[in-house]
């Protein structure tokens, strides 16, 4: 029985006396000791711990909500409509915004801007409607930003550049109308585009500070003109190489992909294992650790 057992043999002071003392009476402790349940646990410390874990939970909740808001995909397609072009109006716009880097005869300026002779209206449409041009400065790559010109002004610039050397023009009509199936469009996307832009069109890095941007914000016309003109480091996909029918199939696939919900609820940026790992390690393992701490807590 318990009489034969000597407390001193334990080597520490148990929480409650083992000799049958009244459990309601708190034992006398005048110094801190280590191990099982000997630490003081006044009510304030308990509530502080509970408050701290509540704060941690709140941070995790807000963090997840914020991450969802940031990464949730939203499909927004805006196609520019081009009206009758005015070459002179385009020239005026060119002379105020583009001439510094592209020269007064569109011949380009050394170390500043390439020649625009022969690039065609399609290139102008892509660069200007995505806001890449007018460029704020030299750099590894021009990234998408707020477009500076209205649709009408873009058409005028297109007409002006087209008049100086020709080149591919901006397509019109329904750019998703194709004889190929959605699956075939996906095949073409994966063969030609996915290596740089990612399997879900979320973009991927290139060498030395460049990147293949996400296709999240691109409209049908922007996709078509990008393929047709090969902006910056993107290769040029001629209409003979990738026929307009095939280009439209790719556009159909990309836009359908963007409009589709993610299986499982949230795409978390649609970049695959990296963001999934972040959620698992921070939220998932964090929750497991909190549960472990709760299970082992003294009650």
């Amino acid at each position: 029985m318990t009489e034969d057992f000597d407390v001193d043999e334990l080597g520490f002071n148990p929480a409650i006396s083992a000799t049958g003392a009244d459990p309601q009476e708190a034992p006398q402790r005048d110094r801190a000791s280590s191990s099982l349940g000997v630490r003081r646990r006044p009510r304030r410390a308990v509530w502080r711990r509970r408050f701290a874990s509540g704060v941690v939970l709140l941070i995790a909740l807000i963090g997840m909500g914020g991450a969802y808001a940031l990464f949730a995909s939203s499909s927004g397609a805006n196609t520019a409509t081009s009206t009758a072009a005015d070459v002179a109006a385009g020239q005026q716009l060119y002379e105020t915004s583009c001439i510094t880097c592209h020269g007064n005869n569109l011949q380009g300026v050394n170390q500043r801007g390439p020649s625009l002779i022969g690039v065609g209206g399609a290139a102008v449409y892509f660069q200007v409607s995505t806001g890449r041009m007018p460029a704020p400065g030299q750099g590894a790559e021009m990234t998408r930003k707020e477009a500076k010109f209205t649709d009408e002004q873009i058409s005028q610039l297109e007409a002006f550049v087209q008049a100086h050397g020709g080149g591919p023009e901006t397509p019109t009509g329904n750019l998703r109308d194709t004889t190929l199936s959605l699956g075939q469009g996906g095949d073409l996307f994966r063969l030609n585009c996915a290596s740089c832009h990612g399997f879900s069109g979320a973009g991927a890095p290139l060498s030395a500070g460049k990147l293949a941007p996400t296709l999240k914000h691109a409209s049908d016309t922007q996709l078509f003109t990008a393929m047709l003109t090969g902006p910056e480091n993107m290769p040029v996909f001629n209409d003979n190489q990738l026929t307009p029918n095939e280009k439209r199939a790719i556009i159909d696939y990309i836009q359908t992909l963007k409009e589709s919900n993610d299986p499982g609820g949230s795409g978390i940026g649609r970049i695959g294992p990296v963001s999934e790992g972040l959620v698992i390690w921070v939220a998932g393992i964090g929750a497991i650790v909190l549960i472990i701490m709760w299970i082992g807590a003294k009650s």
Binding site: M1, P14, K210, P235, V236, N238, E259, G265
Partner: protein, 356 residues
């Protein structure tokens, strides 16, 4: 071990004790000292106790409901794929719902079990003695004697022939499974890896192997613009689906000149060059073509190949240049089409043991 059986009360005494006292005696006899044990609710039927019991039961009830909901969702929830706009998109939530409800059920059981212990079961603290003392001398001597007599009984010390033949049999026993398992893995590939479908007998394709797009059309030089890139395949049966045939056909700008490797100066045609798409590092398709810097970037481990130096690796883990396909032209009905004159002159893709 200091478990002493001398102080254990006899069966008659044990039968007279209350179960709790008998339990404590049993623990003591096994070296477990119950230092603290207290009922959480010594007065049965209080409001606090009922509330605690309701809480735990709620968890188990939640688990049960989640299980029922799982079965309902499994049977009744839509799961057929629809394009966005052509049908309800609720099928997207089929698997998440199943997973969530299953998780809820298991969590309910788990939380219920933990809360049961925390809220309702008696408080108990027990300490078990460490059994880390060395064995007593008597046991050591008796065990040593048993082992040595056992060894002498086998006669292995005296019988040399027995030991020798046993060693041979043991060696065979160890080697035979190894041979069976490892032998099945060893297979000489011959020179399969050194050739691709671009290498066809010249009798069958006297003008060269036709170069085609993935949809089967032949590739003409006019198709591709300067700065353009196409993925091409040999126009032979199985050419499009084979894993080692994808080739990158690149059109350079007129002012870009290629510094070729030895013996490959005439492998290009005009502004065109063609390289195997399979990265020589680990086999990913190295098709990220940056037309302004003329670099081919492989996305897997970021090897970069400089096209103007015949796809020589200039960055990253790759060490061998991408094999170059010798291009030729065949004129059919007045239109020029590309052909592959012969196979790559080296094995494509990553290195392997027997690589020549």
């Amino acid at each position: 071990m200091t478990h002493s059986t001398a102080n254990v009360p006899g069966p008659d005494e044990l039968r007279e004790m209350s179960p709790e006292e008998a339990m404590l005696v049993g623990a003591e006899s096994g070296g477990v000292h119950v230092v603290h044990r207290r009922e959480r609710y010594p007065i049965p039927g209080t409001k606090a106790e009922k509330r605690a019991e309701r809480g735990v039961s709620f968890m188990f009830g939640l688990a049960a409901l989640a299980g029922v909901a799982f079965i309902v969702v499994f049977v009744a929830w839509p799961y057929v794929y629809h394009l966005p706009g052509e049908g309800s998109q609720r099928f997207r939530f089929y698997t998440p719902l199943l997973g969530g409800l299953l998780g809820l059920m298991l969590l309910g059981l788990g939380f219920g079990a933990v809360l049961w212990a925390k809220w309702l079961m008696p408080e108990e603290e027990a300490v078990e003695e460490r059994d880390d003392e060395p064995s007593p001398d008597e046991e050591k001597l008796m065990t040593a004697a048993t082992l040595s007599v056992g060894f002498e009984d086998t006669g292995l010390q005296r019988r040399r022939m027995l030991v020798g033949s046993l060693a041979l049999a043991g060696g065979a026993l160890a080697t035979v499974p190894l041979v069976a398992l490892v032998g099945a893995l060893i297979k000489k590939p011959g020179n399969q890896l050194a050739h691709t479908l671009w290498g066809q007998p010249p009798e069958k394709y006297p003008n060269g192997v036709p170069v085609i797009y993935s949809d089967g059309r032949r590739v003409s030089p006019n198709d591709i613009q300067a700065g353009g890139l196409a993925t091409v395949f040999p126009g032979v049966p199985g050419g499009i689906t084979s894993a080692n045939t994808p080739t990158l056909l690149i059109r350079l700008r007129p002012n870009q000149s290629v510094k070729s490797r030895k013996g490959q100066a005439d492998f290009g045609w005009g502004d065109f060059v063609a390289f195997s798409k399979i990265c020589t590092h680990a086999g990913c398709p190295a098709s990220l073509y940056e037309q302004q810097t003329t670099r081919l970037l492989c996305p897997c481990h970021q090897s970069q190949f400089e096209v103007l130096q015949d796809a020589k690796p200039v960055f990253g883990p790759a060490t061998r240049p991408l094999p170059k396909l010798p291009l030729g032209i065949e004129v059919v009905d007045g239109t020029q089409y590309f052909v592959g004159r012969h196979d790559f002159v080296e094995p494509i893709g990553p290195a392997y043991w027997e690589r020549p």
